[in-house]
């Protein structure tokens, strides 16, 4: 209806890559077997799943036995925290959970549930004004009785990348299981499980040009663990349920492409992101970048604008044909300052005016130029309305 629409919300989801789509298609109808079946149909499907597992394991510098396929990144997060916490309690009476305040809700709500319904002590690690965890703060808080530590690899709202490797080292020295939610980073960053010293790591395919409805959990061998979903013994008994073969194939194909094209993607995205950040801060008064200026995802720009209603801004931008996101945005018109921005110490007069622009492989300079023609006016119009 309006001009050509421009999608600038690749952190929300991405379109499925053509090559991924092509890899998935045979597994809907031609090779539709159940990997658990004895017959040849089952064997073909099983081979596809195990090939996919090998691909993911290789990309993560890990073993195939350490990859658990799930239905999404959130499931991977749930599985990891719950599975490690409960097992640690049974094994060694550990009752303490340590997470950052900038976790995705899949982690924080799971941890809160473990606190309120299972009696765990939940402790939050502080973050700095960029939303970054200082590894020393983990070292100071970790105890022999810590069941699990979880720190997000890069935050979805502000794009800050945490020092996962250093936090991992601290946990490894004390022999405490460490999980990281890497859902936002798979599209652009390298993920070497040995270098990162993680015991568990979550990914979700639709954030890296794969299909929605499939994720994976890296689970280091010999990590004490209790499965959540029990049943037919699939995934070595760690996650029951018939394998979603085409989607697992899709996840692996997308993961492989992400690894192979990482340099190319970063080379494409970084100048675009930097241009967007510089121009926005230059053109708009009372605008701040949220998250770390350097240690941030190469496709991620996030801002707060003082005295702006973020929901209103998103609406005005959408009407102009630009699809973005906001930490405070809410589809039901009930905006609240985001937990993440609050944890970073941003006051609500700023935090309610948040805007996230995330770029993808298709994003062009021209897209951003036309976006930057619209953004300052939209912010100004929001401010006029707030002032009224």
């Amino acid at each position: 209806m309006l001009n050509q629409k421009v999608y600038l919300d690749f952190a929300a989801t991405t379109p499925v890559d053509d090559r991924v789509m092509k890899a998935m298609l045979p597994y809907f109808r031609e090779q539709f077997g159940n990997p658990s079946s004895i017959h040849s149909f089952g064997q073909q499907a099983e081979a596809a799943v195990e090939d996919a597992r090998d691909t993911v394991a290789e990309g993560l510098n890990s073993r195939a036995s350490e990859i658990v396929f799930t239905a999404c990144g959130s499931e991977s997060d749930n599985l990891a925290i719950r599975g490690a916490a409960i097992a640690a309690r049974e094994l060694r009476g550990a009752n303490h959970i340590l997470i950052s305040p900038v976790e995705h809700h899949a982690i924080s709500h799971t941890a809160e549930q473990l606190k309120h319904h299972y009696g765990f002590n939940l402790e939050y690690i502080p973050v700095d004004k960029f939303g970054m965890v200082n590894p020393n703060d983990v070292a100071m808080r970790i105890q022999p009785g810590t069941a699990v530590v979880s720190v997000i690899y890069a935050n979805n709202e502000v794009g800050t990348i945490n020092s996962i490797s250093e936090i991992g080292k601290i946990c490894r020295q004390r022999n405490i299981p460490f999980h990281s939610d890497a859902v936002q980073v798979t599209a652009c960053l390298a993920m070497d499980m040995e270098a990162l010293h993680v015991d568990m790591l979550s990914i979700g395919a639709h954030k890296f040009y794969g299909p929605k409805g499939v994720g994976a959990l890296y689970l280091r061998d010999r990590t004490p663990f209790l499965p959540s979903q029990t049943g037919g013994g699939q995934e070595s008994g760690l996650r029951a349920g018939t394998h979603n073969v085409p989607f697992i194939v899709g996840l692996a194909a997308a993961f492989k492409i992400a690894q192979e094209e990482r340099e190319k993607r970063i080379t494409h995205l970084l100048p675009l992101r930097n241009y967007l950040i510089e121009e926005t801060l230059e053109m708009i008064s009372d605008a701040r970048l949220t998250g770390h200026p350097i240690e941030r995802l190469p496709n991620h720009a996030s801002f707060v604008f003082k005295d702006v209603d973020g929901n209103n801004l998103l609406m005005l931008l959408d009407v102009e044909g630009f699809a973005c996101s906001s930490g405070s945005a809410c589809r039901t018109g009930d905006p609240q300052p985001s937990n993440v921005l609050t944890a970073m110490g941003i006051s609500s007069e700023w935090a309610l005016g948040s805007l996230r622009i995330t770029l993808g492989t298709q994003t062009t300079f021209k897209d951003l130029e036309s976006f930057l023609r619209v953004l300052p006016k939209a912010v100004e119009r929001c401010r006029d309305q707030t002032a009224r």
């Binding site: 209603d309 609406m315 959408d318 018109g333 009930d334 006029d384 009224r388």
Partner: protein, 356 residues
């Protein structure tokens, strides 16, 4: 021809506003659906009569079906300030306010109107049953709906020419049953919700419970007296009684007694028999004339004194720009301060005012 004309439709997830949006899409307008998130008492959001999460999900689905953008806009603060405070103030001052009128003039044709302008829209549209006539006169006429039983011109009588000039009411010319048929034709996933006469922000409760919670100072017992001064009982606070009310007075008398009047200063509720209830005249203030021009001479008109009452004949004398006087042909029982007296010349709504 309408391709360039952008319209914001106030959507509720109900059949009327959904069909209004569908008709505008069909007529070629560039339509944007908007739902206002209105204020609810904390904890009772799910009981709001018009903007629950369910209703919002439904409106969003309708918009997706029609392939139009849809946005929920936070209007809680402005609604609390403009409408809920008006409501509480009205009861505090001893009248029976009609907050829907204020909601229309300040929220829909105020707050939302401004949002629509900022979205680049030329018009706002709603699912109200009333018609606008742009052609016959020099000014825009507000007319009753073709479906008389659904007519909602009463709650639009406060709109001015500027507002009416940027308004489209797609349902005024069709019947409710036709609207339902259109919803089926478009395969719209709208709920056939019961049309609620209650105020959205009261949730499932009564206005009395609401006032108890939100304006506890109104719980101020006083005397119930007859107009000769005889004490008959005790009331719980004048705000909880409405003119014409019979039930719930808690007094026994040989003949049924009705609330005739309330004296705020003395904090008494005055009751009497049915025959005493009628009044033959009223004064209305905060008057709006649809034409924008206030009549110089008295005239006969049909008058509605409540949203759901039928029109009766009376003689209207404009006093000044903000007030008029009505003398009815026969006494009326339900003249209630705070409600609107809306004037009609046959189908044409002339304007109205708030009964003093």
């Amino acid at each position: 021809m309408n391709k360039q004309t952008r319209v914001v439709v106030a959507m509720s997830g109900g059949v009327d506003s959904s069909v209004a949006a569908a008709l505008l899409v069909e007529q070629g307008y560039e339509v944007i659906g908007v739902m206002l998130r209105l204020w609810s008492e904390s904890g009772l959001e799910a009981h709001n009569q018009c903007c629950t999460p369910d209703a919002m999900a439904l409106a969003r689905r309708v918009a997706a079906k029609l392939d139009i953008p849809f946005y929920a806009i936070d209007a809680k603060k402005v609604f609390r300030k403009e409408v809920v405070e008006y409501f509480i103030d009205g009861y505090t001052n001893g009248v029976t306010p009609n907050p829907c009128l204020v909601c229309n003039s300040r929220i829909r044709w105020g707050f939302l109107f401004d949002k629509a302008v900022s979205l680049g829209a030329q018009y706002i549209a709603t699912g109200h049953y009333a018609r606008l006539d742009h052609n016959k006169n020099t000014y825009i006429c507000l007319l009753r709906a073709i479906d008389r039983s659904k007519d909602q011109s009463y709650v639009l009588h406060m709109l001015n020419q500027q507002q009416l000039g940027h308004t489209i009411l797609p349902l005024g010319g069709i019947t409710k049953s036709r609207v339902r048929q259109i919803a089926r034709d478009f395969d719209l996933p709208v709920a056939e919700r019961n049309e609620s006469q209650d105020l959205c922000f009261l949730g499932n409760g009564s206005y009395r419970e609401f006032l108890f919670r939100n304006a506890p100072y109104l719980h101020k017992p006083g005397l119930i007296i007859k107009d000769d001064g005889t004490h008959l009982g005790v009331h719980q606070g004048q705000a909880f009684y409405t003119i014409g009310q019979r039930k719930g007075l808690g007094i026994s008398a040989p003949l049924p007694l009705y609330v005739l009047e309330k004296d705020i200063l003395a904090n008494v509720v005055i009751v009497g028999q049915k025959e005493e209830l009628g009044k033959i005249e009223l004064i209305a203030e905060s008057v709006n004339w649809i034409s924008g021009e206030h009549p110089k001479t008295p005239f006969h008109a049909q008058i509605k004194i409540r949203y759901k009452s039928s029109a009766v004949r009376g003689f209207v004398t404009p006093h000044d720009v903000t007030r008029f006087h009505i003398e009815f042909e026969k006494p009326l029982r339900d003249i209630t301060p705070g409600q609107a007296a809306v004037l009609y010349d046959d189908d044409r709504c002339l304007g109205g005012g708030i009964i003093k």
